[in-house]
């Protein structure tokens, strides 16, 4: 390995990324990202998870184009409860003559909506609470952590249930209910990261330069928490999807005729004996997406923090 910093021989892109003497911050950042990607892509299951999620996003974007039929209007007269493989209905139809495949494809939008909104609401709240709590210390820390622990000790599904019961069914209320019960773990993670970073020299340096606590927390402390947070959010996604589906199953999520996957299972429940596909197909969709997030989250965790994978 050459010790000199003068590179007269042109390097391949890979060498440039992996060089241990980066010439610029950009090179260092890209190099780190490249190595993380290497570790990640070595894990086949994680890549599979990533593909599933990308597929979900693509389907949600192009649902209108991909779906052969309307997800809400069905052929009540001629196409009720057709089995999978019927002419024009790949996965069969439900009791209102609606194509199940089209409903699933459009339902992916609802799933994605839930995930994105819950993440956007819960993660920043948790990050802020945790970072402020960890950096401020003292009684601010004690109070904020007490509140966090109180929320952590609550049963998520049951509280979301009660919340939606009070606010009325609907997908916005379901999202809000889930987000409110999801932020505590992020606060804990952010606080743990903040505590380990707080006493480091570069924070002291920034403070000496006159930065206000706001600026320090915002620009220096919070970015350090981001990678652990991303891993945790991804891993939580599966649980959030399942909770949302559970709420939908109980009739508390998106209201008919919206093709929410959990609600589809509930409406198909009556026909489970003879027309099993109405309730089964949405469950498979939920399983696949949930699996995808779990695999992706596991892979991200192993790639971003090699200590955890234990090799």
């Amino acid at each position: 390995m050459s010790q000199s910093s003068l590179q007269t021989v042109p390097m391949t892109r890979r060498e440039w990324l992996m060089s241990d003497r980066p010439q610029s911050r950009l090179q260092a950042r890209l190099g780190r990202a490249y190595m993380t990607w290497q570790r990640f892509s070595a894990n086949k299951l994680a890549v599979a998870g990533l593909c599933i999620i990308l597929l979900l996003i693509l389907i949600a974007i192009f649902a209108d184009v991909l779906a052969p039929h309307s997800p809400v209007i069905g052929n009540l007269g001629g196409a009720r409860l057709l089995p999978p493989g019927s002419e024009g209905y790949l996965l069969g139809t439900d009791d209102q003559g609606r194509d199940i495949l089209s409903r699933l494809l459009h339902g992916s939008r609802l799933t994605l909506l839930v995930i994105v909104l819950v993440a956007i609401i819960a993660a920043p709240i948790g990050l802020l609470v945790g970072a402020v709590s960890g950096y401020a210390g003292g009684w601010v820390d004690a109070v904020l952590m007490r509140i966090t622990d109180i929320f952590l000790a609550f049963p998520k599904l049951v509280l979301a249930l009660a919340f939606v019961a009070a606010m009325g069914p609907g997908i916005e209320n379901a999202i809000l209910a889930i987000a409110i019960t999801s932020w505590p773990p992020y606060a804990r993670i952010a606080r743990a990261e903040t505590l380990s970073v707080r006493n480091s020299d570069y924070i002291a340096a920034v403070r000496l330069m006159g930065a206000s606590p706001f600026r320090i927390v915002l620009r220096h402390v919070m970015p350090m928490c981001v990678s652990s947070l991303i891993v945790r959010v991804t891993l939580d996604m599966a649980g959030i999807i399942l909770t949302a589906a559970g709420l939908g199953f109980l009739g508390l999520g998106a209201q008919p005729p919206l093709p929410e996957w959990g609600a589809m299972i509930a409406s198909g429940r009556r026909f489970i004996l003879d027309q099993w596909w109405v309730a089964t197909m949405p469950g498979i969709a939920i399983l696949i997406v949930s699996l995808g997030f779990n695999l992706l989250g596991d892979g991200l965790r192993d790639a971003l923090d090699p200590r955890e994978s234990g090799q």
Binding site: A153, P155, V158, A165, A166, L252, N294
Partner: protein, 355 residues
């Protein structure tokens, strides 16, 4: 012991007594604040969120004078903090109001249905631990092998699958097609009159009373939902067991144990698992709490007359008192289990005991 060692020991004893008092105080603060927090949240949900909380409780078809009287009785005309104080006082005495649906006090309803959920969650956790722990140990010991992969896949599916959907499918298979199990409910109508439950835990009661045909019937009813919850539980438990075991097996004392010439079996079960047991017990306790929650959806599918079904039924009927009462009960048990598992951890780990 040398003289400095004896004074050290006396000082440590004194510090231990002080520390003990402090931790008891801290423990009480935690319980009180958490429980108050739960009540605050349910109060918020029940009184603050609905536009007219009285209507939420009574339904919108109640006559006007009843609404006014209830408004007086429930103290809605008083300031918020007084309302909260009354609310807390009521909750602590177990007064959750009256159910609109059954016209019974909510607490009486809950007392009737809770044992069913308890029995299900307990059975499920037993299945989950008895299978999950050995699977996790196997996966850790044979790391990277086929057995490890299988255990991990089984676990992965377990926490990716919607439990109510799996419940439906399992009913389809094991009840509708195979007739191996019984459905719905906990017990056949035939036996409902000849069987008097004592604790509310039917398996235990029928076993205790020696009523074997009742026991068999109850078993056929409970085995499927309990196995489902058990699968859920073992997915989590096996994953955590594997993780803890891998952690322990990498420690120096395992090398020392091998240096002593101990057999692998003894090292795995007597040394590694013994150490992993400490965090594992808390995992099992938390899994139990999780099953209490999971039963909410499972009971709906199996028509299991437990607290979960009670809450969801009340929900469909806009019976806010019942919903909130059930939420508080589950929430309280949840909090209790969380705190207990923390306590268990401290007592089991000899390192924290000394502190």
């Amino acid at each position: 012991m040398t003289i400095p060692e004896t004074t050290q020991l006396a000082g440590r004893k004194r510090a231990r007594a002080n520390g003990w008092a402090k931790s008891v105080l801290r423990f009480l603060v935690i319980i009180v604040t958490t429980y108050l927090g739960l009540l605050a949240v349910t109060f918020f949900i029940g009184r603050v969120i609905p536009i007219d909380p009285v209507l939420a409780v009574l339904g919108d078809r109640a006559p006007a004078h009843v609404v006014e009287r209830t408004r007086e009785l429930m103290g809605f005309n008083k300031p918020l903090y007084v309302q909260f104080y009354l609310y807390v006082r009521d909750a602590l005495t177990g007064n959750f109001g009256t159910s609109v649906l059954t016209t019974n006090p909510v607490m009486a309803d809950i007392r009737r249905v809770f044992p069913a959920t308890l029995e299900l969650a307990t059975f499920g956790t037993i299945i989950g631990s008895l299978i999950g722990v050995p699977l996790g140990v196997l996966a850790a010991v044979k790391r990277g092998s086929i057995a490890d992969q299988i255990v991990r896949v089984v676990g992965l599916v377990g926490y990716s699958v919607p439990i109510f959907w799996l419940a439906l499918l399992s009913l389809l298979l094991f009840y509708a097609k195979l007739r191996w199990v019984a459905f719905p409910g906990r017990i056949d109508i035939v036996y409902e009159y000849s069987f008097t439950p004592v604790t509310g835990l039917y398996l235990l009661d029928s076993f205790w009373q020696g009523q074997w045909d009742v026991f068999r019937d109850v078993f056929r009813h409970i085995i499927l939902p309990a196995s489902l919850l058990g699968y859920f539980s073992l997915a989590y438990i096996s994953r955590m067991t594997r993780s803890f075991m891998l952690n322990e097996l990498g420690q120096e004392y395992i090398v020392a144990a091998r240096a002593k010439g101990l057999s692998e079996t003894r090292i795995i079960w007597g040394h590694a698992l013994r150490n992993a047991a400490v965090p594992l017990v808390t995992v099992i306790a938390l899994s139990y709490a999780g099953l209490l929650e999971g039963s909410v959806l499972t009971e709906t599918v199996f028509a299991w007359p437990g607290l979960g079904l009670y809450i969801t039924n009340s929900l469909q009927n806009a019976d806010m008192n019942a919903v909130l009462g059930g939420t508080i009960v589950i929430g309280s048990v949840f909090i209790a289990i969380n705190i207990l598992s923390d306590l268990l951890y401290r007592t089991l780990d000899p390192r924290t005991r000394a502190r």
